[in-house]
């Protein structure tokens, strides 16, 4: 791809040539690249950008179920919602709606604890699996199984196991003489329960990803460390962890985004009416949009806010990583 990397030459060319000529030259050089990305750009434009713009617009209005345009029989009722500026954002961010900050706090707790357990357990298991031992491939397959189950199926199964009267967990606890735990009723236990399910579902991905990272660390580094008399802990600290850095950075970022947006587990596990105090921002926004009185504007506002928070997180995370990389 020599032609593609020769960009600086084009940029350095003096502006003597006319704009049209330069456009022509750019086109000649890049038209096939543009043609190749065109389908995706079109799809993104129609299916993402257009709804996104509409969503942003809705978040500046007071649209709800009652005042949007709708079709009743043959008559068409026009939309009567109004532009209200930043009112929605102000109501949410000032804490006036009473929902945002508690739910944000729980969403952050949920994300941090899930990703923490995903990563530490995944790393631990990967380190165990990265040794020579009998039955390694069997362990590997067994440990990966939770990932192979569709999340919604897994959520239902766990919901059955958490059942307070006939669930297997309470049955086992009962045999140990511990009274029944109201897993899905009590707010605190609900939170424990959903974190448990998500950890179970998410560890295999981390494990496999970290295992891949471990296997990519060259054994010469370990041999050199051994020759210098490094203890196992020192080898882990100074060879393994730095070697895992690229993989870890990526999977932790992916995991954070996925967990922050994790809809099915909380929604299917707790249902809509049951989880008023343990729903995360995404499920709350969903309930706003499709709950009893559909608050489209509120849901759109929450959607935009969630996306903005994730973007800020991603940018800062990358920046911190880059800085660490530069400092090393």
């Amino acid at each position: 791809m020599k032609t593609a990397t020769a960009d600086p030459a084009t940029a350095a060319r003096p502006a003597r040539t006319g704009l049209l000529t330069r456009m022509k030259r750019l086109y000649d050089r890049h038209w096939y690249a543009w043609a190749m990305v065109l389908p995706v750009v079109l799809v993104i434009g129609v299916l993402i950008a257009y709804p996104l713009v509409q969503g942003v617009y809705l978040s500046f209005t007071d649209a709800n179920e009652l005042n949007v345009a709708k079709q009743l029989g043959a008559t068409e009722i026009p939309a009567t919602y109004q532009f209200v500026g930043l009112d929605n954002y102000w109501r949410v961010l000032s804490g006036a709606d009473g929902e945002f900050y508690p739910k944000l706090l729980w969403t952050v707790v949920w994300t941090v604890s899930c990703v923490f357990f995903h990563y530490t357990i995944g790393l631990g298991l990967a380190l165990l699996l990265n040794r020579k031992l009998k039955g390694r491939s069997l362990y590997r397959v067994l440990l990966i199984l939770p990932w192979a189950v569709p999340p919604f199926v897994a959520t239902y199964i766990w919901r059955m196991m958490y059942n307070s009267e006939s669930g297997v967990f309470n049955a086992m606890l009962g045999k140990l003489g511990i009274g029944p735990v109201d897993w899905l009723g009590d707010t605190f236990m609900q939170k424990v329960a959903v974190i448990g399910v998500n950890v179970w579902l998410g560890v295999p991905f981390m494990m496999v990803a970290v295992l891949g990272g471990l296997q990519a660390i060259s054994s010469e580094q370990y041999e050199a460390a051994e020759m210098d008399g490094a203890s196992p802990w020192q080898r882990f600290r100074h060879v393994t962890l730095p070697g895992l850095r690229p993989v870890s950075a990526t999977v932790i970022m992916l995991g954070t985004i996925w967990t922050f947006n994790m809809f099915p587990i909380i929604y299917l596990m707790l249902g809509e009416a049951n989880a008023l105090h343990s729903e995360i921002l995404v499920t709350y926004a969903y309930r706003l949009a499709f709950g009893s009185v559909r608050d489209y504007a509120g849901a759109a506002t929450y959607g935009i806010l969630i996306l903005s928070m994730l973007l800020v997180f991603a940018v800062f995370y990358r920046r911190i990583l880059d800085r660490q990389e530069a400092a090393r």
């Binding site: 190749m36 990305v37 995706v40 993104i44 631990g124 298991l125 020579k132 199964i157 041999e223 949009a289």
Partner: protein, 315 residues
């Protein structure tokens, strides 16, 4: 266990670590008998071995238990789930028979299959050439496109769902296969492009150059040389986007209303409605859903992780 160490790799390290006292790594299997301060990477005491296996067995049990339990309950008849720890009465397949013949389950299964397959086909076909272009070529707009693809991975369902609901409603596409497939494409197309970029990155650039030298156009290089090489990557991308659509809950729940149009993720909920929870039927359905997906999954998972993380580590 420690005798399983690979002699070729281990010998120099062991010799070096053991110092002058070492006898050319001959005693590599003896574990802790040699006088040495640091244990090498490939050796461990029997106690450590037991601990290692113990930890892995415990983790495996936790990983497997819910799945085994699901199969167990599904075979225990309609009310077996109310006696969670007893096995009296034996196992039966009545739940499976009921679910397959008396409920809408086969219909939901077909719906899910159709929607997920449609999404996957569109996703892979639309995204393949883009994945290649952003992997190999630097063109004006490259950076912003990468950014857009990355940002779309962060979209929470809540950000598009209201607008899409209204747009699809205007077009009369709510409660239809096409509407749902289009919705899912908003997730799967950027995702597939991102993931395939990761695969194309792993194919050596020399192959492209060879193609160019032989007089192929960039399109020719892509279709004749790179695409065939990327088949495993395409398969994995397709599978992953299939699975994502297969298990999607939020859009399906909001957009589908007719009972016969439901996909599995929404339909299953009707087994455990407010009045009577039919966990027997639900588990039977769950097993039927999980087996094919699980089998294919285990075949492709090795490549899956590579694809998911490759784009990120290099981008």
């Amino acid at each position: 266990m420690s005798t399983a160490t690979e002699p070729r790799k281990n010998a120099p390290a062991a010799r070096a670590a053991a110092g002058p006292a070492g006898t050319a790594g001959a005693g590599a299997g003896a574990g802790g008998t040699r006088p040495r301060k640091v244990r090498g990477r490939h050796e461990r005491s029997p106690l450590a071995s037991a601990g290692l296996h113990g930890a892995l067995i415990a983790a495996s049990l936790v990983a497997v238990f819910p799945i085994v339990y699901m199969v167990f309950i599904s075979l225990r008849g309609r009310d077996g789930w109310t006696r969670p720890t007893s096995a009296e009465g034996g196992l039966e397949i009545s739940n499976y028979a009921y679910v397959l013949s008396e409920t809408e389950f086969p219909r939901w299964f077909a719906n899910s299959l159709l929607v997920a397959a449609g999404t996957t086909l569109i996703g892979v076909f639309v995204a393949a050439s883009t994945g290649y272009a952003i992997s190999r070529m630097r063109f004006p707009g490259h950076k912003s496109l990468m950014w857009v693809l990355l940002v779309t991975q962060m979209f929470p369902v809540a950000v598009l769902i209201v607008a899409l609901y209204n747009i699809l409603g205007d077009m009369g596409l709510l409660d239809s296969y096409i509407g749902l497939v289009l919705t899912y494409c908003s997730v799967s197309v950027p995702f597939c492009a991102w993931m395939m970029k990761g695969y194309f990155d792993t194919i050596p650039h020399e192959i492209d150059e060879a193609g160019r030298v032989d007089g192929l156009t960039p399109f020719g290089t892509f279709y004749r040389l790179i695409l065939p090489l990327a088949k495993p990557g395409l398969a994995v991308t397709a599978f992953y986007s299939f699975i994502t659509a297969w298990g999607e809950v939020a859009f399906a729940r909001a957009f589908l209303s007719t009972d016969s149009m439901l996909t599995l993720s929404v339909g299953l909920q009707s087994f455990i409605g407010q009045h009577k929870a039919e966990w027997g039927y639900l588990t039977a359905s769950a097993v039927i859903i999980s087996i094919p997906a699980g089998l294919v999954f285990l075949l492709v998972q090795r490549n899956l992780v590579a694809g998911l993380t490759a784009g990120g580590t290099k981008g």
